[in-house]
């Protein structure tokens, strides 16, 4: 009896988790490979309106052909001059924004090297991509996220972090330090934006079988790594309780009574 009840509750929860994304306006950076690609596909499956960003035009166009309902945007979040171009295309595509996933990441030096051997330029790339890029893009989109909150939704910024943000792994200096900064940025922003109704969190998806991981640890046993689809599934389940779509949708045009 009790077991049935629990199953029913679980099913209700799952059903809610499936419908909650319907019509939600979501932007994902680094959306054409690895975790980003898996997130884009799963969010589309759940009825979200998705804009994704990636650096390579071919990859963006390929994914857009596969998923014509998604809006693909070519841009590099590590470049200051690309940020507003990306932001305006996201807002042009979706009309506003409920969820921003800052997923695009850079390792820094490849192959990984100790900090003492890390070139400043490689460290800069990691900071530009993993810290300043998400900071700039979030800042450019804050107005839209705050509008989403005023209209009754619970907007969210999800920054993709790593256990390297917390633990000190030798050779992961540039990446780890940048992800630590992103993690702390998320914590502070979450405090500061509470009054606006915007949540900012960072989550660690775990070690995944992605291009980034292969570049970092070329000889790793892939069978021990998490599949990006599974990681995406887990992330979506984790944030489903934190988000909700707007109560009101675009107001229907009211006929003009001549002036």
């Amino acid at each position: 009896m009790r077991r049935e009840h629990t199953t029913e509750a679980l099913e209700t929860h799952q059903a809610k988790a499936l419908t909650i994304w319907k019509g939600m306006r979501v932007a994902v950076t680094g959306g054409t490979s690895g975790l980003g690609l898996a997130l884009v596909r799963k969010l589309l499956d759940r009825g979200a309106r998705v804009a994704f960003v990636a650096r390579t035009r071919d990859a963006v166009e390929r994914l857009t052909r596969e998923n014509p309902e998604a809006r693909g945007i070519t841009g590099d979040v590590s470049k200051k001059d690309d940020i507003y171009s990306i932001a305006i295309q996201i807002l042009g595509a979706l009309g506003g924004l409920d969820v921003l996933v800052n997923n695009a990441s850079a390792l820094g030096p490849v192959p990984l090297v100790p900090l003492a051997d890390t070139n400043c330029e490689d460290f800069e790339i990691a900071l530009q991509t993993n810290v300043l890029g998400p900071f700039r893009l979030t800042k450019a989109l804050l107005g839209a996220l705050a509008a989403s909150a005023r209209e009754g939704a619970r907007p969210l910024v999800l920054n993709i972090s790593s256990d390297a943000a917390i633990s000190a792994y030798p050779n992961w200096g540039a990446y780890g330090a940048s992800k630590a900064a992103l993690h702390h940025l998320s914590l502070i922003w979450n405090e500061e934006l509470a009054l606006q109704g915007i949540r900012v969190i960072s989550l660690d998806p775990g070690d995944m079988d992605t291009r980034l991981h292969a570049a970092a640890v070329p000889d790793s046993d892939r069978s021990e790594l998490k599949h990006p689809e599974d990681a995406a599934q887990e992330l979506i389940a984790k944030i489903a309780d934190l988000v909700s779509a707007r109560q009101t949708n675009y107001v229907e045009a009211v006929p003009e009574v001549g002036q």
Partner: protein, 398 residues
């Protein structure tokens, strides 16, 4: 006045000229704007982000260079990105004052324009050789990308450095539908917004496709502002009703907000969640039904923005204002100083509001932490004897 020639949205020394409801004029720092607000007021800003609406290119039939400045559209819906009205200039750029810019080559319906990666067709002339309706031929994603990569913010010669898009987006900017920045909103950074909300004042937004402020052509300038589409979200209409219920004021940030709210009230009898096209011109003799005060830039006599202020105060006060702006070295244009003008007071009718409205207001204004804030503010109100204000509102339709 001196033109503000540097694109800094919030200079530390920004000034604010305050005209109160008795017509008294004082100088203040713009950072003190939240102090002018009272518990129960609602501040309404325009959250339109600015489009890179200046597009350089070539008029295909003549092969001559042109600059197209997008100036208007039918809707604030982001899909409505195919057709625009536009002002067209001949060669040159913003460094030449608009009134000195050469005319474009003769434009005819059907002419094609190559604007960087975008191709547009002239649909028709709109009563003037430089004002046209155009249609982009690409699908919307391509149009957005083309605008994002090739477009520049519309700019005038008083700012020598080229503007970046981030110079033109207010902190609250969301839907990219404005042709020039709704620049009164530059004053509202997040710290200021927090300070405003902590006073028990709502911050709400509308989206209004602010049009261009100058065309360089007298005949066209006389037609400004062009028709501008807007959207008023349900949450904003509610905030305004709540303000009225507790005797608060509606403070518009920018002339576009005045225009949209008053247009909505004109059409619907009161402010409603709606989309519409503001075709109204506000000025001397306009009876303001919604807006009690406006935070705006400093404007020079003869501009449509200046004319709008005549709806708030009489000519005598406007003249006095001009004198102070001139004499005290206020800066003008989009990155300049500001004015805060209360409508000269009219007699209010007392009508019903009640405590539950007050509670609801506080829940909305202060979020989850409302109980403590309600208590705090109620104490303050008691001590200030302001509590008498509650329960009364100016006799306006709710």
């Amino acid at each position: 006045m001196i033109a503000a020639g540097i694109a800094i949205q919030r200079p530390a020394d920004a000034k604010l000229l305050v005209v109160d409801s008795q017509g008294r004029i004082t100088n203040a720092r713009r950072s003190s704007f939240p102090n002018l607000l009272r518990f129960g007021d609602v501040v309404v800003a325009n959250d339109a982000a600015t489009l890179p609406a200046s597009l350089f290119g070539v008029h295909d039939p003549s092969g001559r260079p042109i600059e197209v400045r997008l100036a208007g559209s039918e809707s604030v819906c982001p899909d409505a990105v195919k057709e625009f009205s536009a002002v067209v200039f001949g060669e040159g750029d913003y460094r030449t004052p608009t009134e000195l810019r050469p005319s474009p080559p003769g434009l005819r319906p059907g002419d094609t324009l190559q604007l960087g990666p975008l191709k547009a067709t002239v649909l028709r002339l709109i009563g003037h050789p430089r004002l046209v309706a155009i249609r982009f031929e690409d699908p919307p994603p391509r149009i957005w990308e083309g605008l994002a990569r090739h477009g520049r913010p519309i700019q005038y010669s008083h700012i020598p450095m080229p503007l970046a898009l981030w110079d033109t987006w207010t902190p609250l900017a969301g839907p990219p539908v404005a042709f020039e920045p709704p620049s009164a909103g530059f004053a509202l950074d997040w710290r200021t917004i927090d300070a405003i909300r902590r006073r028990g004042v709502h911050v709400a937004t509308i989206t209004h496709a602010a049009g261009i402020s100058s065309t360089g052509d007298e005949e066209l300038d006389a037609r400004l502002p062009f028709d501008e589409p807007y959207r008023i979200p349900a949450s904003t209409a509610k905030s305004i009703r709540m303000a009225w219920a507790v005797g608060g004021r509606v403070i518009a940030v920018g002339t576009t907000v005045v225009r949209a709210l008053e247009h909505s009230a004109f059409v619907h009898g009161s402010v409603r969640a709606s989309t519409g096209i503001a075709v109204n011109k506000i000025g001397l003799g306009t009876s303001l039904r919604v807006v009690d005060a406006v935070l705006s830039g400093t404007h020079e006599p003869g501009t449509s923005h200046y004319n709008l202020l005549a709806a708030f105060v009489d000519e005598q006060i406007l003249c006095k204002m001009d004198d102070v702006l001139q004499h005290d070295g206020y800066r003008t244009h989009e990155f300049g100083d500001s004015v805060f003008i209360e409508k000269t007071r009219v007699k209010c009718h007392l009508s019903g509001g009640n405590r539950s409205d007050f509670q609801l207001w506080m829940m909305d204004a202060c979020g989850t932490d409302s109980n403590r804030r309600v208590a705090e503010i109620r104490d303050t109100l008691h001590s200030n004897r302001l509590v008498e204000r509650l329960g009364y509102s100016c006799g306006r339709g709710l």
